[in-house]
């Protein structure tokens, strides 16, 4: 997990004036106070999903896709209208696809999003409001066309990003 704390929130400069008025003469002293509330975005996942294995029996009844929902994500933000997007480090092999769906209580899930070619980020959840979300499930679906008879185990890295 990578956490980046930045100063999105505006620094507030307040001029505090202390004026002493003295009849017949005066003296003034000014102070500048800086206050800041930093924007917070944190995102974490519970681990890696279980291996997605399609088992084919060599007939038309074989399943062609499998789903894993064994992992969860949690987030914290004090910002409004943030979103979660995802990208894959390398395209999926020809004839296969990988999609992901994130449950969300604080935002709007975009449903199942195909990441097969998504080397640039795709939005999974949008309009996430200020607050926390814990233990929301991540669903991965791996599909293979019927032409794929057998394929050795491969892996891809999925990067989930919480951003404003």
């Amino acid at each position: 997990m990578k956490v980046f704390w930045g100063g999105w929130f505006a620094a507030l400069g307040i001029v505090v004036s202390s004026v002493q008025a003295i009849a017949g003469g005066g003296a003034a002293a000014n102070q500048l106070l800086f206050m800041e509330v930093k924007g917070v975005t944190r995102l974490s996942v519970s681990g890696n999903p279980l291996p997605l294995v399609i088992t084919k029996a060599g007939d038309a009844l074989s399943p062609v896709s499998v789903i894993d929902g064994s992992t969860h994500y949690s987030l914290v933000t004090n910002l409004e209208n943030v979103r979660i997007s995802a990208s894959i480090n390398r395209q999926m092999p020809q004839g296969t696809s990988l999609s992901v769906r994130l449950e969300s209580l604080r935002g709007t899930s975009c449903g199942e999003v195909d990441l097969s070619q998504a080397t640039s980020p795709r939005v999974l959840v949008s309009r996430i409001g200020r607050g926390t979300e814990q233990g929301s499930r991540i669903f991965y679906t791996f599909s293979a066309s019927r032409e794929i008879r057998e394929m050795q185990s491969q892996s891809r890295t999925i990067t989930l990003t919480l951003t404003d």
Binding site: W8, G13, P51, A57, M151
Partner: protein
């Protein structure tokens, strides 16, 4: 005083607003496609999602153990040749009097999964 205000303005604009906020998490997804040599019976079971019963009649004179692997991989007890569990396997032969009449015994295997 003027320089202080400029300083304040810099801090108001520079740090976060220019670059936005970002946090990320990484998952590794592993996937593969395997071929499993299952019996046709198992495939039917997978299709129906419930127990099924099939009756297989072997050629006259056959023993249950002679059920060829191509005929759904049936064996006459316990597990099939492909290792599928069977909850019930029933082997019947024709009554003895049929055999005495010169007929070869008929072998019927009923398999329930």
């Amino acid at each position: 005083m003027k320089s202080r205000l400029l300083y304040a303005l810099f801090f108001m604009l520079a740090p976060g607003a220019a670059f936005g906020q970002e946090a990320s998490a990484v998952q590794t997804v592993t996937f593969s496609v395997r071929v499993e040599h299952r019996s046709a019976l198992s495939a039917l079971k997978a299709q129906h999602g419930e127990k099924i019963t099939r009756t297989i009649e072997l050629p006259r004179g056959s023993e249950p153990s002679q059920a060829p692997g191509g005929l759904n991989g049936v064996s006459y007890a316990g597990k099939s040749s492909t290792g599928d569990d069977r909850t019930s396997v029933n082997v019947q032969k024709e009554p003895e009097n049929n055999i005495r009449q010169g007929k070869q015994p008929r072998c019927v295997i009923t398999v329930t999964e």
